[in-house]
C-alpha cells in the first residue's frame, strides 16, 4: 500500500488516478479497460487495503502535532479509541477483550484497518497502530489502552504485546502527555459514584467479567449518560497499561482527586475540559520554561525519565496537551521570565497542595504518586506557558506532497471511500486547529526526514504550518460539504485566522456562506406533556377479556406511572439504584400482567410513553414534568427564551455527546425505559413490546407527505409543514427503532465476544431464524421507492445495537452491504434525486454506524473496505412518485444536528481553538455580553401567549389523536387555500388595477419601466395589507366549516368550537405569515408578469350552552338558594339526638326552630339542584322518625305555651302547635318529596313503641297523624288498618293494645265512621268529617 502512496507522493501517479483505481471493480473489467494507471496495475495490490492504510498513514504522520481539540473527548479522529471505547466500548468490551487476551485468541482476532503486508514499509519508529487507525485515529487512548492488543493485534504488535497496536515506545516518558489527553476525557467526568467495578476490573483484568450479569451488561452497554462508566472503565484500562509497561509500581494510580475542581468541575460535563480550559485561557498563559530544546518536553512533575528519541517523543496520535503546550511555550515565549518563575512556583505550590489534599482523601485504593499527580495536573490545568503556535504559509514545507495528499484525501472523502466522512472532517479540523509543537523555525525538513528513504516515510506533518496547510487544502476542496454545516460552525470557520491567512479565497467563501446561512441550530426543549391519555377506544372495558383483566390493568397503569415518578424524582441521586429500588416492583407488576395476559395493553402504553417522553431532541431532555428551567423560560418569554435555550444547551449538550462518534446510548428518560425492560426481564412483555414497536415503526415508515403541486405560491408554506411532520416522524422512528434493536439483540448480548466455536455455531443457528423486523426488505423498498431519507436513519439506530454475532449473519450482512452501497453511492452534491442535506444526514448516520461497528472486535473490515461494492442492489424507481421523499428537501441543519449531535463536535473543536488562542488571535474571545435589564423584564403578554400555547397542546392531550390530525390538516389546507384565494381575488384585482394604471402611465412615459413598475407596486402594497384582513376572514369562515364536516357528529360543542378556533388560528397564522413575507413580492411579481405581457401585446360560534338539564325541575324561578340537603339532615339529626337522648339537663328545642326547620326542609326539597336520591331518602326517613317522636311527645319543645297563646281560639287544645308541625310534615311528604315517602315506617315496632310509652293524649296526636296520612293521600284507610292490625300481634301494654284495636277499627272501613265520633278529640272529628265529606 505504501508503494501506491509513494507513487502519488512522487507525483508519478495523479491522486485522481489512484482514486479511480480504488473505485474500479477488479472483478468486472480488466484494468486496461478501466484505464487504470499502469503503475498501479503493476503493484497488483488489493485496492481495499489502500484506504485504511492511507488513513492510518495520515493519523500517524500527524499524531505528533495533534494536540488540539481539548473540548472534545476525542482528541484524535480515533473516536473509537476515545469516545466510543471510553464510553461504551470500554465498559462493554473492556473485560471481554481482556478475556480474549488470556484465551490467546488475540492473534486471530480481526483487525480493522490493518495494513496487510505493507506495514513494514512504515518507519519502524512510527509503528503506528493500525487498529488505532481503525477508529480513525492513531491516538491511542481510552479503549485501546484499556483493551490492549487482544482486540486489535497489529502487525507490529510484537513490539509490545500488550499494546500490540500501540505506537508507544517510551511510554513512561510520554505517559503524562498521553494521559493528559486521556485524562482530559475521563477525569473530566466527575466521579460522583464510587468507582467500583471498573477499577477492580482493571486490576485483575481477566477475572472481571464474571461479576457482570447480563442485566448489568445490558445496562452498562449504553450507559454513557452517566459518566461513571467511562470513568471506571478508563481507570481500569489505564492501570492495565501501567502494569504491562512495568511502570505500574511507580506508575500513577488512578487516583481521582475529588478536591480538584478542575478534574471535577462543579458542572457535570463530559467535556469538562472545555469548561476548564476556556476560562483559564482568557488569561494568556505564559511559558514556564524556555530552556528546553524542542526534543525534550519537560515534564515538570514527572518522575519518569524522558526519552531522547524524537520519534518516540511523538507518540502517534496522542494529543497530549500538557506535553505540547509546554513545547509551545518554548517556541513562542513572550512573557517575562520573572513572571514565569512566579507562576512556576505557584504551580508547584499548588501541586503540593493538591497532592496533600488528594492522598489522604483515601478515595483511591492505590497510593498516590507524583507521576499521577503530574498527570493530573497536566491534564487538568491549562499547561504552563501555553502559547499558540502561529501557522505561517511561508513556513510550509513539502507543499507538493501535501497538495498531493490533500487531493488524494479529498477525493477519498468526496467519493465516500472513507467510512465516515465527518470523522475525517473532524480530523481535518483538528489539523487546522492544531497547536502542536512544530519544528523550530530553523529546523529543516531535511533534518526531520533524515534517514527516510521513501516519500512515505518522510514526515510531512511535522509542523503546524504543514498541518494547517494540508487542512486548508482539504477544506477548500470540501467547501460544499462544509458550507452545509450549521451557522455557528461556519462562523468559527469564517473567523478562523489560519484559514484566512492560508487561503483568502476559502476564507472569503466561508464568510459568504456564513452570512447567507440561515442554519441556526438549537436543541429544543422537550415539551412537557406527561402521561399517555386514556382513550376509550383502546382502553375501556370492551378491550379486555374480563373485568379482572381490565381492573388489573387499571392498577398496572397507575403502578407504571408511580415507578416513573419515583425514577424521575430519584434517579439522579447518588446512591439510587434502579434495579434495587424498582426491580421487584416491576417484576411484581409483570407477574400481574402475565396473570391476566395484559401484556399487549401494557406494551402499547409503554411504547406511547416512550414516544411521549423521549422524542425530544436531546433524547427527551433531562427534565420532564417539573422543569425549573421551563419556569425560568416562561418567565422570560420569547426573546430570552432562545438565549436561555442556548445557554441550556451549553450545559446539557456536552453531557449527551461523546466525541465525533459516540456509541449508541439511552440518554435522559430513555434510560428509564431501557432499565425497565431489563429489570422486568419478561419474555412476554418483550415480545409484545417488540410487536408493538414493529407495528408502530411500520406505520411511521409508511409516511406519506401531502402531495403538493410545486406551484410557486404556497409551496414554501407546505414545505415547512412537511418538514415539521417529517421531523417528528423521523425522530419517533429512530427512537422506536433503537428500542427495538435493543430488544431484538438483547438476548444475544454477551459480555465476552463468543469464542470461535461458539461464534460459528451461533452464526449457523441464527442464520436459520427469521429476523423480527425485516429491515432488509424495508431498506430495499426504501431504496426503490427513494425513501431512504426516512428509512435509513432509523435502520441505523436499530443496527447500532447489534450483538457480536449479528453482523456475521447472512441477513444482516446483506443489510450492511446494502447500506454500504448506499453510502458509497451517495456522493454529496446537490442533485435532483436528493438534496444535499438529505444526503448529509444519511452519510452522517451511516458513517457513525460504520465507525461504531468497527469497534465490535470481530466485525470484518471488509464490510467497509471492500472494493466490490455492487451497485445492482440500488435499483431505484426512476418514476418520481409523491412518496419519493428523498427528492424533497426535508432535512435542514436543525434536523441533521438533532439526529447527529456528534456533528456539533466540529464546532466545539473550532470553538476551543478560538478560546485557546485567545488574545493572540485577536478578538475571538466570546465575552458574555450583559443583557439589558429591560429585555429581561418579564413580558406578561408573552407569558400569556405561552400559556395559551400550552393550553392548546393540553387540549389535544385527552382527545383522540384524530382530532389533532384533523385540526392540523384543516389548518394546513385552509391556510394554503387562503393564500390561493387571496391570490385569486385580491391580488388578481390589484393586478388588474395595476394594469390600468400602468397602461395609462406607459402612455405618459415609456422610458423607465422599472421605475414605473416600482411606483405602481408601491401604491398597491398598501392595499396589499388588506390581504391579512381578507385572509383572516377567509380562515375564520372556512376553518370551522371544514372542522365541523370532518369531526364526528357527536363531538361536543365545546370541543368542536375549540377545535375550530385552533384550526382557524393555525390557518390564519400560516396564511398571514406567508402573506406578510410574500405579499409584496407576490404583487410585484404578478404585476411584473402582467406588465411584461402587457408590454408584449401591450393582470365561531361560541359553545352553545350545554343546558345542563336538571334531574328534576325546580319550581320556576328557583334561585337554588335553599339550604343544602346535608344541612337539613344534619339539623334533623341534632333534633333526633336531643329527642332520643341522652340530654344535658334542660336541653330543649325551640318550637320556632322546629317550625323553621320544616320550612327549610320544604324549600330544600323543592329545589332539586343539590338533591340526590340518598339525601332524599334519608330526609324521608328522618322526618318520619321526627314525626313519630313528635307524636309521642319525645321532643322537649320550648315555647309551646307561647304558641298556644298565639292562637287563643284554639286554646282548648295545647296540642295545636304540634299538629301544625305534623301538618307541615304531611304537606312536605305529600308535596315536596319526589320519591315515595315510606310513611309506613310510622308503624314500625320501634316508632309505635314511642307512642305506646307516651301518655294518653299523645295517642290523639297519633290518630291525628294517621288521619292526616289519609287526608294527604299518603296512605289509604285499608292500608292503615292492616298495619294497625299487624301491630296488635306484638306484646304491648294492655291499654295501648286496646287503643290499637280502637284505632284499627276506626280505619276498618268508612262504615265505622260513627264509632269514631266517640273519640274525645274534637279536631279529629272535624277532620274526619272532612274525610267523610270527601269520600
Amino acid at each position: 500500500m505504501a508503494a501506491a502512496l509513494e507513487l502519488v507522493l512522487r507525483e508519478e501517479v495523479a491522486p485522481g488516478a489512484l482514486v479511480h483505481w480504488l473505485k474500479h471493480d477488479p472483478g468486472r473489467r480488466s484494468a486496461e479497460e478501466n484505464h487504470i494507471h499502469e503503475k498501479l496495475v503493476s503493484l497488483s495490490l488489493p485496492q481495499k487495503d489502500f484506504v485504511p492504510f492511507f488513513l492510518n498513514f495520515l493519523r500517524e504522520q500527524t499524531g505528533q502535532i495533534l494536540t488540539n481539540g481539548p473540548s472534545t473527548p476525542a482528541k484524535t479522529p480515533n473516536s473509537k479509541a476515545l469516545g466510543n471505547s471510553a464510553g461504551r466500548g470500554s465498559q462493554r468490551r473492556g473485560s471481554e477483550r481482556r478475556a480474549g487476551n488470556t484465551t490467546g485468541s488475540s492473534s486471530s482476532r480481526m483487525q480493522l484497518f490493518t495494513q496487510k503486508g505493507s506495514a513494514n514499509s512504515c518507519s519502524p519508529d512510527t509503528s503506528f497502530a493500525p487498529s488505532a487507525v481503525s477508529g480513525g485515529s492513531p491516538a491511542f487512548t481510552g479503549s485501546n489502552l484499556s483493551s490492549p492488543s487482544s482486540d486489535f493485534p497489529s502487525v507490529v504488535s510484537s513490539v509490545s504485546p500488550s499494546f500490540g497496536c500501540s505506537p508507544v515506545f517510551n511510554h513512561s516518558e510520554r505517559r503524562s502527555a498521553q494521559k493528559a489527553n486521556l485524562g482530559n476525557f475521563f477525569v473530566a467526568m466527575p466521579e460522583v459514584q464510587p468507582t467500583r467495578r471498573g477499577r477492580r476490573k482493571g486490576n485483575s483484568s481477566t477475572s472481571t467479567s464474571s461479576r457482570q450479569v447480563a442485566r448489568d451488561l445490558g445496562r452498562c452497554l449504553a450507559d454513557e449518560e452517566d459518566g461513571k462508566s467511562d470513568n471506571t472503565s478508563w481507570s481500569g484500562g489505564r492501570k492495565k497499561r501501567n502494569e504491562v509497561l512495568g511502570v505500574s509500581a511507580s506508575s500513577p494510580p488512578d487516583q481521582l482527586n475529588l478536591n480538584n475542581l478542575e478534574e471535577f468541575p462543579p458542572m457535570c460535563a463530559s467535556s469538562g475540559f472545555t469548561n476548564k480550559s476556556k476560562p483559564s485561557r482568557r488569561i494568556n498563559p505564559t511559558p514556564v520554561s524556555i530552556e528546553r530544546p524542542l526534543s525534550k518536553p519537560k515534564m515538570c512533575f514527572t518522575s519518569t525519565p524522558v526519552s531522547q528519541s524524537p520519534a518516540a517523543r511523538f507518540p502517534s496520535g496522542a494529543s497530549h496537551e500538557a506535553f505540547v503546550t509546554i513545547q509551545e511555550g518554548n517556541v513562542a515565549s513572550t512573557a517575562g521570565s520573572s513572571l514565569q518563575e512566579e507562576r512556576e512556583m505557584l504551580k508547584k505550590e499548588r501541586c503540593k497542595l493538591l497532592h496533600q489534599a488528594s492522598s489522604p482523601a483515601g478515595l483511591s485504593l492505590e497510593p498516590s504518586t507524583p507521576t499521577k499527580l503530574s498527570y493530573t495536573r497536566s491534564a487538568s490545568l491549562p499547561p504552563e506557558g501555553h502559547l499558540m503556535t502561529c501557522a505561517y504559509l511561508s513556513k510550509v514545507s513539502c507543499k507538493k506532497q501535501l497538495d498531493q495528499l490533500a487531493l488524494l484525501y479529498s477525493s477519498c472523502i468526496a467519493e465516500n471511500l472513507v467510512p465516515n466522512i465527518f470523522l475525517e472532517l473532524f480530523f481535518v479540523l483538528q489539523l487546522l486547529t492544531s497547536r502542536g509543537i512544530s519544528a523550530e523555525d530553523g529546523e529543516s525538513d531535511l533534518e526531520f526526514n533524515q534517514g527516510c528513504k521513501g516519500a512515505v516515510e518522510r514526515q510531512h506533518f511535522h509542523n503546524v504550518h504543514n498541518c494547517v496547510y494540508f487542512a486548508v487544502q482539504v477544506l477548500d476542496r470540501q467547501y460544499e460539504l462544509i458550507s452545509h454545516l450549521e451557522k455557528g460552525t461556519l462562523k468559527l470557520l469564517a473567523e478562523n485566522e489560519r484559514i484566512a491567512s492560508f487561503s483568502p479565497h476559502l476564507h472569503k467563501r466561508l464568510r459568504q456562506a456564513y452570512e447567507s446561512s440561515t442554519a441556526k441550530v438549537s436543541l429544543l426543549l422537550p415539551s412537557s406533556v406527561q402521561s399517555v391519555s386514556f382513550q376509550p377506544e383502546t382502553d375501556n372495558r370492551s378491550n379486555f377479556p374480563s373485568d379482572r383483566a381490565f381492573h388489573i390493568f387499571k392498577k398496572q397503569r397507575d403502578i407504571f406511572y408511580e415507578l416513573l415518578r419515583e425514577w424521575e424524582d430519584n434517579h439522579e441521586k447518588p446512591a439510587w439504584d434502579f434495579e434495587r429500588v424498582l426491580g421487584n416492583k416491576i417484576r411484581a407488576m409483570m407477574a400481574h400482567l402475565t396473570a391476566t395476559c395484559n401484556h399487549s395493553h401494557f406494551a402499547r402504553l409503554f411504547q406511547k410513553q416512550i414516544i411521549q417522553m423521549c422524542k425530544g431532541p436531546v433524547g427527551g431532555g433531562t427534565s420532564w414534568g417539573d422543569t425549573p428551567d421551563q419556569d425560568v423560560l416562561n418567565m422570560l418569554g420569547c426573546d430570552d427564551l432562545s438565549r436561555l435555550k442556548r445557554l441550556q444547551e451549553r450545559f446539557v449538550a456536552p453531557q449527551s455527546i461523546r466525541g465525533p462518534c459516540p456509541p449508541p446510548s439511552f440518554p435522559g428518560c430513555q434510560q428509564f425505559f431501557r432499565d425497565f425492560i431489563l429489570s422486568a426481564g419478561s419474555y412476554q412483555f418483550n415480545q409484545h413490546l417488540m410487536d408493538n414497536l414493529c407495528l408502530k415503526i411500520l406505520e411511521l415508515d409508511g409516511l406519506t407527505l401531502v402531495e403538493h403541486e410545486p406551484s410557486d405560491g404556497e409551496a414554501d408554506m407546505e414545505e415547512q409543514d412537511e418538514k415539521k411532520h417529517f421531523t417528528v416522524v423521523l425522530m419517533s422512528l429512530r427512537l422506536l427503532a433503537k428500542f427495538l434493536g435493543f430488544l431484538v439483540f438483547l438476548p444475544y448480548r454477551t459480555v465476552e465476544p463468543p469464542t470461535r466455536d461458539l461464534h460459528e455455531s451461533a452464526v449457523a443457528l441464527r442464520n436459520q431464524s427469521l429476523p423480527v423486523l425485516d429491515v432488509l426488505k424495508l431498506l430495499q423498498r426504501a431504496i426503490q421507492g427513494r425513501r431512504t431519507i426516512l428509512t435509513i436513519p432509523w435502520i441505523v439506530e436499530f443496527l447500532s445495537l447489534v450483538d457480536h454475532i449479528a453482523p456475521f449473519l447472512d441477513y444482516y450482512g446483506t443489510v450492511f452491504s446494502l447500506l454500504l452501497q448506499v453510502y458509497r453511492s451517495m456522493v454529496p452534491s446537490e442533485d435532483k434525486e436528493m438534496s444535499f442535506l438529505n444526503k448529509l444526514l444519511i452519510l452522517a448516520v451511516l458513517g457513525w454506524l460504520f465507525q461504531f461497528l468497527f469497534q465490535i472486535p470481530s466485525v470484518p473490515e471488509e464490510l467497509f473496505f471492500t472494493s466490490e461494492v455492487r451497485q445492482d442492489g440500488l435499483m431505484m424507481d426512476t418514476m418520481s412518485s409523491a412518496q419519493a421523499l428523498d427528492s424533497a428537501t426535508l432535512v435542514d441543519q436543525q434536523l441533521l444536528y438533532t439526529c447527529c449531535p456528534y456533528l456539533g463536535e466540529l464546532r466545539k473543536l473550532l470553538a476551543s481553538f478560538v478560546a485557546g488562542s485567545g488574545a493572540k488571535n485577536g478578538g475571538f474571545i466570546r465575552k458574555i455580553t450583559p443583557t439589558a435589564a429591560e429585555s429581561l423584564a418579564p413580558k406578561p403578554s408573552v407569558t400569556q401567549q405561552k400559556l395559551q400555547a400550552e393550553l392548546e397542546q393540553a387540549f389535544f392531550h385527552n382527545q383522540p389523536p384524530s382530532l389533532r390530525r384533523t385540526v392540523e390538516f384543516v389548518a394546513e389546507r385552509v391556510g394554503s387555500n387562503c393564500v390561493k384565494h387571496i391570490k385569486a381575488t385580491l391580488v388578481a384585482e390589484l393586478v388588474k388595477r395595476a394594469e390600468v394604471m400602468l397602461q395609462e402611465k406607459v402612455k405618459e412615459d415609456n422610458t423607465n419601466h422599472d421605475k414605473l413598475l416600482d411606483e405602481v407596486c408601491t401604491q398597491l402594497y398598501e392595499e396589499g395589507a388588506q390581504a391579512f384582513l381578507k385572509g383572516r376572514e377567509f380562515c375564520r369562515k372556512k376553518g370551522p366549516e371544514a372542522v365541523r364536516v370532518l369531526l364526528p357528529e357527536e363531538t361536543s360543542a365545546a370541543v368542536l368550537s375549540s377545535a375550530e378556533d385552533i384550526a382557524v388560528r393555525l390557518a390564519t397564522e400560516k396564511a398571514c405569515t406567508w402573506l406578510s413575507t410574500n405579499i409584496t413580492a407576490l404583487i410585484k411579481r404578478e404585476v411584473r408578469t402582467t406588465f411584461s405581457r402587457m408590454l408584449k401585446i401591450q393582470g365561531p360560534s361560541l359553545p352553545s350552552e350545554d343546558t345542563q338539564e336538571m334531574k328534576k325541575d325546580c319550581p320556576p324561578g328557583c334561585q337554588h338558594h335553599a339550604p343544602f340537603p346535608s344541612e337539613i339532615i344534619n339539623e334533623i339529626k341534632d333534633v333526633l339526638c336531643i329527642a332520643v337522648g341522652p340530654r344535658d339537663g334542660d336541653e330543649a328545642i325551640h318550637y320556632a326552630h322546629l317550625e323553621c326547620l320544616l320550612e327549610k326542609l320544604s324549600q330544600t326539597l323543592q329545589c332539586r339542584k343539590f338533591m340526590c336520591p340518598t339525601s332524599e331518602q334519608q330526609l324521608a326517613k328522618c322526618t318520619i322518625e321526627l314525626a313519630s317522636l313528635l307524636v309521642s311527645d319525645r321532643i322537649p319543645i320550648q315555647g309551646l305555651e307561647l304558641q298556644t297563646q298565639k292562637y287563643p281560639e284554639r286554646q282548648r287544645s295545647k296540642n295545636h302547635p304540634i299538629c301544625n308541625l305534623l301538618t307541615s310534615l304531611l304537606s312536605v311528604w305529600k308535596e315536596d318529596f319526589v320519591m315515595l315517602v315510606p310513611v309506613q315506617l310510622i308503624f314500625s315496632k320501634k316508632n309505635v313503641g314511642y307512642v305506646a310509652e307516651a301518655k294518653q293524649r299523645e295517642w290523639d296526636l297519633f290518630l291525628f297523624m294517621l288521619h292526616g296520612l289519609v287526608e294527604y293521600n299518603l296512605m289509604g284507610n285499608a292500608e292503615i288498618e292492616s298495619y294497625l292490625q299487624s301491630l296488635q300481634e306484638f306484646a304491648w301494654p294492655s291499654d295501648f293494645l286496646k287503643e290499637l284495636e280502637t284505632l284499627s277499627r276506626v280505619f276498618e272501613s268508612e262504615l265505622h265512621i260513627e264509632e269514631l265520633r266517640t273519640n274525645p278529640c274534637e279536631l279529629v272529628r272535624q277532620s274526619l268529617g272532612a274525610v267523610t265529606a270527601q269520600s
Binding site: S533, V1064, C1137, T1174, K1181
Partner: protein, 283 residues
C-alpha cells in the same frame, strides 16, 4: 380555608381523645372560633377515624366483644330506658355506631345461631326498627343518631355534602362556560378511573394547566390526601394529565407541593382561570 401544618396540628392535638358527640364538637368550635364549622367537623371526623383505626382491632377481639355484649345485657336488664349502649361506647372509647354494630352482631349471632350477613346488619343499622328486639333497636338508634363520626346517618350526610359540592362545582363550571364531561358520562364511555369532571377544553389555573377537577367535600389532611393521591389523583394524572383538586373544607397548605408536576390544590373554585382564547386568531 388553608391551614398551615402547625395550625392543623394544634387542632389535632386538641382533639386528642375526644368522644364523637355533639358536645365535643361544641367545645371544638369554642376553642377555634376562627375556623369554619365544616372544616372543624371534617378535621374532627378524620382525626377520630384515625383514632378508631388505631384501636379498631382491640375492640374486635372475641373477648372484647363478649365483654361488651354481657355488659350491655346486664345493664339493659337494670334499666332499658338508659342510654346503655352509648355509655358503654364512651366508656371504652369507641365509636357508638361501631359499638352498636358489635353488639347487634353478637345479638343476632345468639338469636340465629349463625353469623349474620353484613347486608343484614347494615340494613338494621340503617333502620333499627328492623331489629327484632325493641330495646336493642332503641339503643342502636340512639347510638347511630348520637355518633357524629360514624354511622349511616353520618355517612349519608357525607355523601350528601359530597354530592352537593359536585353540583356546586358543576354550576361554577357552567357559569364559567367551561365544558366538561362528568363522571357518569365518563363511566359510560368506559373510562376505568374517573375524576368528577374532565374539562373538554383544558384551562390554566394560576398558570398551571388542568385537565380535570376533583371535588372533595372534606378537609385535606396528610393521610387522606396521601391516600387520595395514591388511589385517585395520580391515576387521573396518569390518564388525563394535570388537574385540580378542590378541598372545599380546606387543606394543609404544605400538601400543595405537586403543582409543578400537575396536581393543584385549592379550597375554593379558582378565580384565576385562563382559557384557551379563541381570539388568538385575531392577534
Amino acid at each position: 380555608m388553608k391551614l398551615s401544618k402547625a395550625q392543623y396540628e394544634e387542632i389535632a392535638r386538641f382533639l386528642g381523645h375526644v368522644q364523637p358527640t355533639r358536645q365535643s364538637l361544641r367545645r371544638l368550635k369554642e376553642r377555634f372560633p376562627s375556623q369554619s364549622q365544616s372544616t372543624l367537623l371534617s378535621i374532627f371526623s378524620q382525626e377520630y377515624q384515625k383514632q378508631i383505626k388505631r384501636t379498631h382491632a382491640k375492640h374486635h377481639t372475641a373477648e372484647a366483644i363478649e365483654t361488651y355484649y354481657q355488659r350491655y345485657r346486664s345493664r339493659v336488664m337494670k334499666n332499658a330506658a338508659a342510654p346503655v349502649l352509648l355509655e358503654l361506647a364512651n366508656e371504652v372509647d369507641f365509636a357508638p355506631s361501631l359499638m352498636a354494630r358489635i353488639v347487634l352482631e353478637r345479638f343476632l349471632q345468639e338469636q340465629e345461631q349463625g353469623i349474620p350477613s353484613k347486608t343484614l346488619i347494615n340494613s338494621m343499622l340503617r333502620d333499627p326498627s328492623q331489629i327484632p328486639d325493641g330495646v336493642l333497636a332503641n339503643q342502636v338508634y340512639q347510638c347511630t343518631v348520637n355518633d357524629c363520626c360514624y354511622g349511616p346517618l353520618v355517612d349519608c350526610i357525607k355523601h350528601a355534602i359530597g354530592h352537593e359540592h359536585e353540583v356546586l362545582l358543576r354550576e361554577m363550571l357552567l357559569k364559567k362556560n367551561l365544558s366538561f364531561l362528568a363522571e357518569d358520562q365518563l363511566r359510560a364511555k368506559g373510562y376505568d378511573k374517573t375524576p368528577d369532571f374532565i374539562l373538554e377544553v383544558p384551562v390554566a389555573v394560576e398558570g398551571h394547566i388542568i385537565h380535570w377537577i376533583e371535588s372533595k367535600a372534606s378537609f385535606g389532611d396528610e393521610s387522606s390526601h396521601q391516600s387520595y393521591l395514591q388511589d385517585q389523583f395520580w391515576s387521573y394524572w396518569n390518564r388525563f394529565g394535570p388537574g385540580l383538586v378542590i378541598y372545599w373544607y380546606g387543606f394543609i397548605e404544605e400538601l400543595d407541593c405537586h403543582r409543578e408536576r400537575g396536581i393543584l390544590l385549592k379550597d375554593c373554585f379558582p378565580t384565576d382561570i385562563v382559557t384557551l382564547r379563541h381570539s388568538m386568531a385575531q392577534h
